[in-house]
Amino acid sequence: MSVPQDWTPPTAGSQDSRPSREHVVAGLKATDEGDPELVQLLTPEGERVADPRFDKYATDVDVDALRSLYRDLVLVRRFDREGNALQRQGQLGIWVPLLGQEAAQIGAGRAMAPQDMAFPSYREHGVAWTRGIDPTDLLGIFRGTDHGSWDPKATRFHLYTIVIGNQVLNAAGYAMGQKFEGKVGDGPDSEATICFFGDGATSQGDVHEGFVWAAVYDAPVVFYCQNNQWAISEPTERQSRVPLYKRATGYGFPGIRVDGNDVLACLAVTRWALEECRSGNGPVLIEAFTYRMDAHTTSDDPSRYRLADELELWKLKDPIERVRVNLVREHGVGQEFFDGVQAESDELAARFREFCVNMPQPAPDRMFSQVYAEPSPLIEAQRAEFLDYHASFEGV
C-alpha cells in the first residue's frame, strides 16, 4: 500500500493510471459506488452534471466561488498532511488525518450561515477551517497543551468530541434550544445546527437517541454522517445492514446520500438541508459517501485491514482533482491560479509547522484551572500544595 504522505493525485485526463473494471469491482468488495440515488454535481472526471433537485442550491457558484472552494480544499489538505508529518517527527502525540474527506467537510462547512452552529467529532479540520478557526488552533489538542483552544461561542464551532457519538445528543439539545428561542422560521436570524459524525458512530446509542430527540422535538439539526467506509478497522457493513442514509426513514425525517468527494454536491445538499431545518422542517440526515484515504489516526495501520485496490479506486475519485479539472476545462482557469494556491498552501504549512514546534509548555499549574466555574476548595488546596512542592525545587 502506498504511504499516504507520499501519495499524489492522479494526473488530470490521464487514462493510464485507471484500473480496469474488474480491478475496480475487486477493490469495492467492502464499498460500493454509492447507489443510484447518490447526489452528484461534479463527476470524478470534473464534468458538471445537472441535478434537477439540487442545481438551484449551487447557482451562485461561479468561477470565483469555485476557485475559492478549490483553495479551501488544497489548503486544508496541505495542513492536514503537515499535521501527519509533524506527528511522524515526534512533534505531535497523534494526528487524525482527513485526507480524502476535504470535499465532504468544505462543502458542508461553506453551506453554513454565520449564525448556524456546528458540533464536530474529531476529524473536522476542514469544517473548522470554514468557521474561521486558524489551523494552528487545532494543534494544542494533538500536541497535548490543551483540549481545544478556540472559542466555541464566537466561532459557532463546538469543541472536538472524542467520545464517539456524544456530540449528536449535544447538537440535538442545542438545536432544541434554537427552536425554543424562536430562531426557526423565515426570519433573517433563523438558525440551524449541523452535527458531524462518522459511519462507526451510527452504531452508538447516543446517535439513535439524538435522532429520536431531534425528530420528536422537530429540532433544526442536520446530521452529517461522513461515511468514510471504515471505523478504524471495522467496515460499514459491520455497522449496518442498510445504507446509512436510509435509516432516517425510520425516524421520520429525510435521509439523503451525497457524493462526499464532490464539494459542489456537498455544498448544495447541505444548503438544502440547513434550509429545511431553518424553515422548521428539520431534522435531516446526510450521508456523505466518501473515503478515508489515510489511517484512522497516526496510531492506526490500515494495511492490516483494507485492500490496496480500494485505495487505488478512491484515488480516482479525488475531491480536489475533479475541481481542478473542471476549472481548467469548463472555465479556462490557467496554471497561474493553481501555482498561487500551491504557494499559499506551502506558506500555510510552514506557518503551521513553525507554530507547532514553538508552542510553549503550559504553566505547571495549568491543569488546575477552570475545573469548575465557581471556586473549589479542594482544587485550590491541591493547586497550592502542588505549587509549594514545585517551589521546593528552586535553587536545588
Binding site: S369, V371, A373
Partner: protein, 324 residues
C-alpha cells in the same frame, strides 16, 4: 408556619427558580402531565407549558445529552432521573461531557445543568430503584454533588443548585419525600456547598447525609438517655466535601461515626474517614467508625431492613467508639 413535605418543598423550589429565570427548564420522563413518579414536578407543566417542562423520550443518555446542548445554548436545564439505578445509561454524558466541558473549553463553555436523582432504599421497591450511587459522581472532577435531607434544605438547595454555574448532581432521599418540615421563607438560606451542624453535642460526632439524617437524629435522641450528647452533622455537600464543621466537632469530641446507606468501599464515607484522620489525627480518641450499606448489590426488598443502617446499628457504633 405551614408544614411542607420534602417533595412539595422541591416542587416549590423548582417553581420559584422557573419564575425567576425563563431559561430554567425541567426535563425528564413523566415530569409533565404526570408531575413525575414522585410528583415533585406536579403542576409545573400546566403553569409553565410544554416547552419549559419537557416530557422526554425514555432514554437517560438522551435526557442528559440534550440538556448539555441546551445548556451550551444558554438554558439552565433541570433533569429528572426517575430512579437512582437508572442513571447509568446517562452516566457517559454526565462524566464525559457535562463534567468536563468547562475544563475542556478553559471556562468558555458553561453547562449549568442540575441532575435530580431520587436515591436510597427503604421503600420496598424492585431492584434498580433503591441505590445510592453518589460516590460515582463525587469521583468525577467537574461535577458538584449534593444531597438534601429535609424540606427546608430541599427548597433552598434546589434553587441554589439551579443558580450554580457548575453542573450539580442533586440527590433526593426518596423515602423522606413525604415527611414534613417547616420552611422559613424569610431566613437567609444556608450556603449550598456547606455542611451543617443540625444537633449540637459534646460526646461524639456523627456525620451523615440524605435519608440517614433522620435515623442519626433519632439515634442522638436515644443516646441522650444514656447520657451521651451526640453532635449530628448533615454533610449536605458531597463534592466538594465541607469537612470544616466535622473537624471542628471531632477536635472537641474525639469520636466520629460516619453514616450512609451506600456501600462502604471507595465511597463518600471512605473519603470523610481518610480526610479526617489526616487533618485531626491527634484529636481522635478512637478510630473513625462507619455504618453503611454492605458491599453487595442492593438486596431484594425483604432484606433491606437488614441492609440499611438503622438506629441500632448507629447506636452500636457509638458504643464501640466510646468504649475504645
Amino acid at each position: 408556619m405551614a408544614q411542607t413535605t420534602l417533595a412539595k418543598a422541591l416542587n416549590n423550589g423548582l417553581r420559584a427558580a422557573m419564575e425567576r429565570d425563563p431559561k430554567v427548564i425541567v426535563m425528564g420522563e413523566d415530569v409533565g402531565k404526570l408531575g413525575g413518579v414522585y410528583r415533585v414536578t406536579d403542576g409545573l407543566q400546566k403553569d409553565f407549558g410544554e416547552q419549559r417542562v419537557l416530557d422526554t423520550p425514555l432514554a437517560e443518555s438522551g435526557i442528559i445529552g440534550t440538556a448539555v446542548g441546551l445548556a451550551i445554548r444558554g438554558f439552565r436545564p433541570v433533569c429528572e432521573i426517575q430512579f437512582d439505578g437508572f442513571v447509568f445509561p446517562g452516566f457517559d454524558q454526565i462524566v464525559s461531557q457535562l463534567a468536563k466541558l468547562h475544563y475542556r473549553s478553559q471556562g468558555k463553555v458553561k453547562v449549568p445543568v442540575v441532575v435530580r436523582i431520587p436515591f436510597g432504599g427503604g421503600i420496598g421497591a424492585v431492584e434498580h430503584h433503591s441505590e445510592s450511587p453518589e460516590s460515582y459522581f463525587a469521583h468525577a472532577a467537574g461535577l458538584k454533588v449534593v444531597a438534601c435531607s429535609n424540606p427546608a434544605d430541599a427548597y433552598w438547595m434546589i434553587q441554589q443548585a439551579i443558580a450554580s454555574d457548575d453542573p450539580v448532581i442533586f440527590f433526593e432521599p426518596k423515602r423522606r419525600y413525604w415527611e414534613k418540615g417547616e420552611i422559613d421563607l424569610d431566613a437567609e438560606p444556608h450556603p449550598l456547598f456547606a455542611s451543617r451542624v443540625v444537633r449540637p453535642g459534646s460526646t461524639l460526632t456523627v456525620a451523615t447525609y440524605g435519608p440517614m439524617l433522620k435515623t442519626c437524629l433519632a439515634a442522638a435522641s436515644a443516646a441522650e438517655s444514656d447520657g451521651h450528647e451526640l453532635e449530628v452533622i448533615d454533610l449536605r455537600t458531597l463534592s466538594p466535601l465541607d469537612l470544616d464543621p466535622v473537624l471542628e466537632s471531632v477536635r472537641r469530641t474525639g469520636h466520629l461515626v460516619v453514616v450512609a446507606e451506600a456501600p462502604s468501599e471507595s465511597s463518600i464515607t471512605s473519603e470523610v474517614v481518610a480526610r479526617v484522620q489526616q487533618a485531626a489525627f491527634y484529636s481522635l480518641e478512637a478510630p473513625v467508625l462507619r455504618v453503611t450499606g454492605f458491599d453487595t448489590p442492593y438486596p431484594p426488598s425483604k432484606c433491606e431492613e437488614d441492609y440499611l443502617p438503622d438506629l441500632d446499628r448507629v447506636l452500636d457504633a457509638v458504643d464501640r467508639s466510646l468504649a475504645w
